[in-house]
Symmetry: C2
Subunit: 486 residues, 2 copies
């Protein structure tokens, strides 16, 4: 067991707090391999619940899972010009295998567009073979200079969707659909409401025609790109000869999309909901939703309270993911501390006095408005009400995260000085006009480190479209949202 020492408060050093809570909650640990992490059981169980939910949503929208090779011939990556420029500096390369030097070096996939579209080209002949709607769960490697647990690691886990369509319109529709799937998933499951929209050209995926993104606002008011959906146009299909015969008998290149979400989402969860006592897991993603801690002094008490704890766990059945912490060698206080750090939504304490009164003490990890942190409940009522308490907490967490995002969204910002003052000060999402020129975009980035997170989707746009570019003062082509980002 790790020594119990206090965590750095968020307000003092958010970055130190993040690393400490991730380790304390046993979500992950550093490995002996530079930049690679180990995802420990508690972190992996959260990821599995995310995976399960997102996988169902991906299948419900008509996609099928498949698996493509980890290794990609270097020449494949080099075929799409922007793609190789974007990924070349981050590649890990296998040069030797089976005791010999390879004739052609193999890249450990940083993403799978090239190998997947090469296979699509083999399978597609006619418009009847389209659309192809594929998804892959797997690991990818990008050699990052500075790494952070979950947020930026050399190897990470993700799903990558890859589709091929007969028309540009259909590909665009698919790109938008999957952005919507990510948004719904983040709202409903992570209780994390992202801002959605289009990336500027300088921020789009290497090889894409257009990139859409979900951007979530962390508690330190920095943005985190939490999921992206790319319309790839015919860029890859031209390079990999992914052609098909149209209904009219012509030959055309297919239109591709790709979209991905990663284990980074576990980090997003931590920075969206965590507090100074540890992480807080939304009930839908909590591997254990209810931890029952029996409290005893004598052996006789131990038998009685443990028996009751098991009985209540059994009564809850499949209505909640429940666990009894029956470890003998820890005090009840240490157990409270551990499960709070791990973010379990509800704790039930059962001591000899509770037993006598046929009650349990229900303690909430986070306290929604109008609720109490602790309340005594009859055993029957506790069992009955736990599912509703859990969904109440899930709703409250989304409401609080949405409130926080809105409270930290700055609209009506007109001058570069104002923009700079917010970026250097409180941070958050800053809505301004933009002329569309990369010169203005670069100036902001260089002088403030803030970037255009997205050109926001309609529902996020300000009631009044900003008239001028926040940098040059020329007429604005569009509204954009700036923030410092992870």
């Amino acid at each position: 067991m790790a020594e119990e020492k206090g965590l750095t408060p968020r307000a003092q050093d958010f970055s130190a707090w993040y690393n400490e809570v991730v380790l304390r909650a046993e979500l992950a640990d550093y490995s002996p391999v530079r930049g690679c992490m180990v995802i420990r059981p508690w972190g992996y169980a959260i990821w599995e619940l995310m995976q399960g939910a997102l996988d169902r949503m991906i299948k419900e929208t008509g996609h099928q899972n498949a698996y493509f090779p980890l290794f990609i011939p270097l020449s494949f990556i080099e075929r799409e010009r922007e793609h190789v420029e974007g990924f070349a500096p981050e590649l890990a390369i296998v040069t030797h295998a089976g005791g010999k030097e390879l004739e052609e070096a193999l890249v450990v996939r940083p993403t799978s567009e090239t190998i997947i579209y090469a296979m699509f080209a083999k399978w597609v002949q006619s418009y009847r073979d389209l659309p192809l709607l594929y998804n892959q769960w797997g690991n990818v490697v990008r050699w990052e200079l500075r790494t952070r647990l979950f947020l930026r690691t050399t190897e990470f886990l993700w799903q990558e969707g890859h589709t091929a369509h007969a028309t540009e319109e259909e590909a665009e529709e698919e790109t938008r659909r999957m952005l919507g799937v990510y948004r719904t998933f983040m709202e409903q499951w992570l209780a994390m409401p992202p801002l959605t929209g289009l990336k500027s050209d300088s921020e789009k995926f290497a090889g894409a025609k257009r990139t859409y993104a979900c951007e979530a606002l962390m508690q330190d008011n920095r943005a985190l790109q939490a999921g992206t959906s790319h319309h790839l146009g015919q860029n890859f299909s031209r390079q990999f000869d992914l052609k098909f015969q149209t209904q009219e008998g012509r030959e055309d290149y297919a239109w591709n999309t790709s979209w991905g979400a990663t284990t980074r989402l576990v980090g997003a969860l931590v920075m969206t909901h965590g507090d100074d006592a540890g992480i807080v897991v939304p009930p839908l993603l909590a591997p254990t939703q209810v931890i029952i801690v029996p409290i005893w002094k004598t052996d006789e008490q131990r038998a009685a309270v443990l028996g009751k704890a098991q009985e209540i766990a059994k009564a809850l059945g499949t209505a909640a993911r429940v666990k009894v912490d029956d470890r003998d060698f820890l005090t009840a206080g240490s157990k409270f501390y551990e499960w709070e750090a791990k973010g379990v939504p509800l704790r039930l304490e059962i001591g000899p006095k509770d037993l006598a009164k046929q009650q349990v003490m229900l303690v909430r990890r986070i306290v929604p408005d109008g609720a109490a942190r602790k309340e005594a409940l009859s055993e029957t009522l506790a069992v009955q009400q736990i599912p509703e308490r859990l969904s109440g907490i899930q709703r409250a967490m989304l409401a609080e995260a949405t409130r926080r995002r809105e409270a930290n969204s700055h609209r009506g910002v007109r001058t570069f000085d104002q923009l700079r003052e917010i970026v250097d000060g409180v941070g958050g999402f800053i809505y301004t006009g933009w002329c569309g020129s990369s010169v203005c975009e670069t100036k902001v980035k260089e002088e403030t480190k803030a970037t255009i997170r997205v050109i926001p989707d309609a529902e996020f746009r300000s009631a009044e479209m900003p008239a001028t570019c926040v940098v040059c003062g020329e007429p604005a082509a569009t509204e954009v949202v700036w923030a410092k980002a992870y």
Copy 2:
């Protein structure tokens, strides 16, 4: 669509048949990367059903999933002498990353003992931290010279369990428990009854104290190692300093086990149940259990039969995984052919005549004893009886595979000439006595290519223990089972 041409019959060329049915069923395809395959949606969906079932069984026996890095420092692999000797020739090595040559080369994991036990050493201090019961789903790479789709590929998917225990007895118990889990899984889900037992020293895992295995008999009477469970003793814990304080206050090295099952199981399924029309998938693992093929000539008929097909699919609800094949551009015959090749257990045909009689035509992919291949059933009865028909097929497939295994098990073989005649002739599992010497073992291997698959578990042993070694005629130390293997 692939050209419809006949498959090579099993009896003519089993190996050609295997490759053809795997491709025809769209289980997998060759990739542009040597020895790596692409698992296509139909193959991956079967794998996902296997994963789901095995994952539940692994969790029910107290294990937790986690994720460890893809890359392992070369020096880690080299620490355990037998381990490195076993794996060195098969390693793929990353020498360059991020545009630079690495100071220490990284191995793409061929298996994860070394990195996992290095992490365990960090987490374990006392007997209270034991046992650690971990499992990982992921990809591994072993550079194979000759590859076969699913059976032997450079990259494959698998789960690898890794545990640490305070005592040798507990580790042995765990090793046996997981062998049992594999066996149950293969019997219940794959309808494939393996022979279980202990490997001889020459066939055990590189670095293990003891290896147990599930060996399944394919239709060509060659054995396939389908799952292994290793008792690693303290071999790795000594090298990675995985120590703990015992209850008595002493210091001791932990006892490890590891166990794995791979995508090879998809190949095992093909070679256990396939026939000259394609693969046959046991109902529990069939992504589509019931394919409904509506048959029509006129547009009016089309609307009516399609409507009925949808109605029946809806009536089946979640009682079966059902799909309506409503493709306009294929004949009903082409659809029959395609779904037979893919091994879907039940087909329902609905044509205008069936519609008039309120019946459907039920067609079985394989025909259990006493059943008919085709039968007309009223719509109501069809919906009611499909779940029972499916479980009947599952049972029949296990019974047939067990019958075949027994029919091809040769007991009472006493002389080397007899052994050689069977190996060179009909093949199968050959039970003999063995003196225990590696000289005799090697002689059989060199002269017949058969190897000791296992020293069989008690229930598989012959009623009468063979008295003498089949090679040297000296007293037998144990009974063994020989076969040529994949």
